[in-house]
Symmetry: C2
Subunit: 258 residues, 2 copies
């Protein structure tokens, strides 16, 4: 079996070589296609120097330097899936000179995105806006530090998306499914089935607003069949380096079909 | 042309789809094959939990946290090509549970690697050792802060490789070509042809010790035909995010044929 056949699970799922029979696959092509809305974004529809914006909580933030202004600066992009996706985009499409921003802030819930949306999203006029939000909306409720509900999450997220569509009608939106991986430090059985309601709400909104949807929860669950859950995320919420790469590969696949 | 045809220049160079005619390719398959020693490393030859070590100067260091001990921690891996290659390796070969270390230190010349080689290389017993060293051996001489010569670089580097082979006969070694990109802030015509002698010395040592050799200088020069040199490296020495990804993709291709 050639190394090149093993490129990564997501690509393997699409390439589907005979060699893969010898190697576990996280997602089958069918599973991906069923979960993935179409059409994806055609890179040719993006103009030179278009902005791509990653928004969310600590998973997106990933230790970024909030003082760094250069969108092509690693410190500004953090050390997680947004940086890994940015590196892939900048290397793959150099002629586009994409301007890529990470504005994730650790601990954020959806209402906190709304509070900073004018500065941290609308003013940047992104051509592509990727949002990963929701785990704190549940987690902080679960640990008794927040009295929000899934109904509030859905209502606030819907209002944020409506506001975005009105201000930026041409912006292509990507909704990333909130995820929580059982068998890791911070996530136990008490999270379910209630946490699943937040996943359902995010998927429902992707349908309502006709956005791309990335089923990250399913992706982590399936990756955990190949290596232990803690290989992909130590606490069940924050991805490891391997988990961040799993996320960036899925992002490229679901958003650009790459 | 499908986005997937454009994956990245290095892969495109190997895939060679018809679609590529519409898209510039940095390296042709022939150029890569001619520059690339064989055989590459077969991932199946690595044992579970084997160590992969990236050694070098600031290009490898890339702002890593030297206090971080967890080899699967982004802060410990820095924000450059070593982190990007680690993320790719950990996601692509999860069953191997590879232990990946970055021990690059900003400003280092080859004699400074030798001073810390026992702790920062030999004691880690890497299965794969990747070394990128040499730009400071020239740069610090060029700016008058070092009186070393290319002969000293070659002599010190040969002694380091001999010492490594004696202590770790089974370790697979990768020598990365030092590079300097004209048309960027820190690199002008006064660097050449003298800097090229350091590139020649590194390539000569790769031949003497039968190591893998990655021709990074050529890779950056060819990438600069597709986007301006400063897109890949602001100062001609330190890669941008796009340049770091160019390096990690080349590393995976030359080391694992991936």
């Amino acid at each position: 079996m050639k190394i090149s056949d093993r490129r990564n699970f997501l690509k393997n799922a699409f390439i589907g070589t005979a060699g893969l029979a010898a190697f576990p696959v996280v997602l089958s092509a069918n599973e991906l296609d069923m979960a993935s809305p179409s059409p994806r974004i055609n890179i040719n529809s993006l103009k030179n120097s278009n902005v791509i914006l990653f928004q969310g909580d600590s998973i997106t933030d990933a230790g970024r330097n909030r003082e760094a202004k250069d969108p092509h600066n690693q410190a500004a992009l953090g050390g997680g899936y947004a940086f890994l996706a940015a590196a892939d985009l900048l290397n793959t499409f150099p002629a586009k000179n994409l301007q890529i921003y990470n504005k994730g802030i650790s601990g954020n819930k959806v209402f906190q995105l709304a509070e900073r949306w004018q500065n941290d999203c609308l003013d940047l006029r992104p051509a592509v806006l990727s949002i990963l939000i929701g785990v704190n909306d549940y987690w902080h409720k679960h640990n008794g530090n927040y009295d929000g509900t899934v109904a509030i999450y859905e209502k606030d997220f819907r209002a944020l998306l409506k506001r975005t569509k009105e201000a930026l009608p041409d912006t292509k939106i990507v909704i990333c499914e909130p995820f929580a991986v059982l068998g890791c430090k911070a996530v136990d059985g008490t999270w379910f089935p209630e946490f699943d309601q937040y996943r359902v709400a995010a998927r429902k909104l992707a349908g309502e607003f006709n956005t791309i949807f990335i089923p990250y929860h399913d992706i982590f669950v399936k990756a955990s069949r190949v290596a232990p859950p803690t290989y992909w995320t130590a606490d069940g919420v924050h991805p490891s380096v391997a988990g961040a790469k799993l996320m960036s590969e899925a992002w490229m696949k679901y958003v650009f079909g790459k």
